[in-house]
Assembly symmetry: C2
Homo-oligomer: 397 residues x 2
């Protein structure tokens, strides 16, 4: 009796989530310490202490009906202004609260902006490998994902193919940097070249092409270079942000959209996005957490913990003969399946009690994602399993 659209979803439920559920079952069977679950992007580093302090202070000292009540659908004005000013201070932008729309995480924000922009049949371009949920978010509004094939040398976007695949139906291009699942950060040169392609195509086709920058991993970088802020490079950029990873709050569902005044029809886009936030049933981003993050805009999780994880896991994998690009951000490694079969690789890893996710779930077969937002000790304990997995493929180790 469920809808026809949902039948397919039930049959092909999220591989990542299925793995998460299976991990819980395996943990019960083999003991939690003997299962090495690298499947989910669930932050292992604790939220900064400022979070707990802010929760207690706001819950005990601010007016309860304000803290837990309705506000404008776009969020508290003071929270949005604080975020706008924080961005302006960091990136030299000129946002005000008007440009900030508080959302139920980045997933909520992406749904809001796709609902706002897409007509049935409109195309959204994504660079493989990409977070597989984008497909669902775009299909929710009867749009179509158009994939750009991966550049498996660098995992930087293939801009020549982008230029070829833009059509009059292209409504948006979505990018995610630092990237899930590769950990790669797009360089400033890449962003400049991408902006050039988009500007030329807008002019050539007489259309608006929105660049949607999905940025949950912005603060998780292991180099000294801050990832470029895309609104500064291309006028039609809309940013989707989440505090899920930057403050280790993924369960709280708190994030925001930035819709700059420079985007085409900015006032209509802002008005429609605010309504979409309401009618999609979010109504508003969770109220207490809005106020909490506004107090913690300078707080940071301990990124060094993820860096140490990355270094140990990268060394373990490469020492054992596996191939993967060394990531500059996020908390994922994208490992090549030794014989090119990522699903078989996933199953053989599972036999070693290693839970990883096949790249075909990210539109990039032949690779697997290993999430290292786990404890350092678990990575240490998992080393014999990686060695055994390598041996089974005849790799050195």
């Amino acid at each position: 009796m469920i809808s026809k659209k949902m039948v397919g979803f039930v049959q092909n439920n999220s591989v990542i989530r299925a793995m998460f559920e299976e991990g819980k079952i395996m943990a019960a069977k083999y003991g939690k310490e003997n299962v090495y679950d690298f499947s989910l992007g669930n932050p292992s580093v604790e939220p900064p202490k400022e979070i707990t302090e802010a929760i207690v202070e706001i819950a005990t000292k601010e007016e309860p009906n304000l803290v837990h009540g309705y506000m404008s659908n776009s969020g508290y004005e003071d929270v949005r202004e604080a975020i706008a000013q924080s961005l302006n201070g960091r990136f030299g932008t000129t946002f005000t609260q008007k440009n900030i729309l508080m959302t139920v995480g980045a997933a909520g924000g992406l749904n809001v902006i796709f609902k706002t922009l897409l007509n049935p049949g409109d195309e959204v371009i994504a660079f493989a490998p990409y977070f597989v949920e984008y497909r669902s978010y775009v299909r929710n509004y009867d749009g179509e994902i158009v994939e750009i094939s991966p550049n498996t040398e660098t995992f930087q976007p293939n801009l020549a193919e982008l230029a070829e695949k833009i059509t009059p139906k292209t409504k948006a291009v979505i990018v995610n940097t630092p990237n899930n699942p590769t950990g790669v950060v797009y360089t400033e040169e890449t962003i400049q070249a991408m902006a050039k392609v988009l500007c030329e195509k807008e002019k050539e086709l007489g259309t608006s092409i929105y660049l949607i920058s999905d940025e949950p991993y912005r603060e998780l970088v292991y180099t000294d270079v801050e990832p470029p802020y895309l609104t500064k490079y291309y006028h039609n950029t809309i940013v989707g942000y989440s505090f899920s990873k930057s403050l280790s709050l993924p369960g709280e569902r708190i994030g925001y959209l930035v819709i700059p005044d420079t985007v085409d029809d900015a006032d209509d886009v802002i008005a429609a996005a605010t309504i979409a936030n309401r009618i999609l049933g979010y109504v508003n981003a969770p109220s207490l957490m809005q106020r909490v993050v506004a107090k913690c805009l300078d707080a940071k999780v301990d990124v060094d913990t993820y860096r140490k994880n990355r270094d140990l896991l990268y060394k373990t994998l490469t020492d054992n003969g596996f191939t993967c690009a060394k990531p500059d951000g996020a908390f994922y490694l994208f490992v090549k399946a030794p014989d090119g079969d990522d699903k078989a690789f996933t199953n053989r890893a599972k036999a070693e009690r290693l839970l990883i996710v096949p790249g075909s779930s990210f539109a990039c077969a032949g690779y697997c994602r290993v999430a290292y937002c786990v404890s350092y000790e678990m990575i240490e304990r998992s080393i014999p399993s990686w060695e055994s997995l390598a041996k089974s493929y005849g790799l050195k180790g």
Copy 2:
């Protein structure tokens, strides 16, 4: 550049929300104490003290990555089990955690269940007057709302018309008791008669007709009779609950769906709803608040405050010659426009600095909704304005 569907929404933005925004502007102009905003269902009674205690205890004593992290898309198992057992204790039901899906408020829950059930063109029956957002929620999935005309004597549902309007395309019937905007509570006899109609039509047509019970006002009743729990009367009932009003937490977006084992294709409906919760971008209900409400299932807001408000406002209105049904629940009065023109009534009220919402926003022209989830003092201060409004219509007073 916004989508064609959203153009209509931007042009006809929520009257209630527009009023809320206008109220803020008027408050700045006339002084907050001189504007009597009865427009929004934003609880005025503070959350019970257990809420703040639970927030502080969970935030400071439980493991932060558990409290703020991802969990199963349907919610924490222990939270869902606590809710199931609480319902079983109150209503003699036999739910387990499997039947409970934590949602981003009732609005999130309704979107999840419509996404789960509706094919394009499917019909959802609603009894006028009804919460106008149902239209948007159904249209999000290309369904159609079919309205049953109001019974303006009692505001109980018109079941003869229900039987006439059920077709092979009827996928669901939605009810809301205690009702927004009338405050009326459906009697047990009404529910029994409605269940009979639905069972007969299912048999006659060979279809499944889901009864969706939207219950944010369940705990706000002013009689000794507990509103009937609908899953006990009709096998295909799905309940959408919210803690927004019962615990004064509307900004927190926390609620749940109950999908009993008795509904047709229960396992598929539960699986699809869990996926819909994820792909609509909710991902999961806010995590800290899930844990908070599970600790506060027996906590109650002070319903007596709303009762006093109701009594004062009902007396003020009827003493001045206005007509309205005396509500048994929720925190709304549904007042007849003296000359039948609810939009003119709203405007004339606004001239007296009284903000109310025209019934045409609830598919019931000729009436206006007055929300009394406000301070008692504001109702007292507003009395001269109601008197003046009554005089302008030539009513006694």
